[in-house]
Amino acid sequence: MVPVSPEPSTPPVDETDLVARLQAGDEAAFAELMRTYGGRLLATARRLMGNDADAQDAFQDGMISAFRSIGRFEGQSRLSTWLHRIVVNAALMRLRSARRRKEESVEDLLPAYTDGGHLREYPERWDAPADTLLQREEVRAAVREAIEGLPEKYRIPLLLRDIEGMTTQEVADHLDITPNAVKIRIHRARLALRALIHPHVAASVE
């Protein structure tokens, strides 16, 4: 797996040495592990959980489970990649066991078609390039809010694939659904996001 987030091309610390100390159960090494790799992991947890408190809980679950299973880390993948997977799993476990919010539907946000399969609405174009749109705080806020507001069923696959950089197959394995179901959910999530962002983008054209 290649996370989209930039990773240093060389490990910031001597991974082999750190892993050896962790495998020996060294608590200082554990703290060092969290200081070195924790930032990105905590950010991942926050994206998935949606708030700081739950993110910290998921981070804690993940870190403890990493410390316990470090004996099984064989260095075939990068340590950061291995940790990322563990934290994602810890977050998903928490999401699964959390009292389920009512699953809202995104149906209303999907494009509507005529009987002959034409788009029912022909909205204004998004003239501005993505880079320009990104400079507008209103647009950024709308995107953030739109993603956070997506039902979990759609938000999680979208985040795992588009943001955390997993492949469709990896997302399917994590969520225990078929690759095809992953694709459908991500597609719907994007269509819904497009509709949610649209008023802000169209309105921000100068």
């Binding site: 969290m34 403890i64 993603i147 994007r190």
Partner: protein
């Protein structure tokens, strides 16, 4: 029927709104006129709904050659879908960029959290 009238009626044709006579006239023109024949072909081989369903596979480069061909041909003749594709692509990159800018920067893990994890770890063993 001339080419202008053909284009005027094409939408109604694809929506199955034409009577038998009108439909035959339109199809007759499409057979005689290669430009309009091509339009009719494009309108029939892929609807906008199919087009939208293909968007993700298009982005992932997973369309079969024949699907990719009709996808491109649809794009050449349907302005709403050109705009829709553009918005879809921008949606994906906006989502990516905003999330990464928010959470991608290497942030510090609060020392308090690190201490809490260490403590929880100690308690658990």
């Amino acid at each position: 029927m001339n080419c202008h009238e053909f284009r005027q009626s094409l939408f109604a044709y694809t929506e199955h709104q034409l009577g038998d006579g009108e439909r035959a006239t339109l199809e007759g023109h499409a057979q005689a006129c290669s430009g309009c024949g091509d339009l009719l072909q494009r309108a029939s081989e892929l609807t906008c709904k199919d087009f939208v369903a293909f968007l993700q596979a298009h982005l992932d480069d997973e369309l079969e050659p024949e699907q990719a061909r009709v996808f491109r041909r649809h794009l050449e003749f349907c302005p709403p879908c050109v705009d829709y594709l553009d918005a879809y692509e921008k949606t994906v990159s906006l989502g990516r960029e905003v999330c990464q800018a928010d959470g991608g920067l290497p942030e510090e893990v609060p020392e308090q959290l690190i201490r809490a994890v260490l403590e929880a770890q100690r308690r658990a063993t």
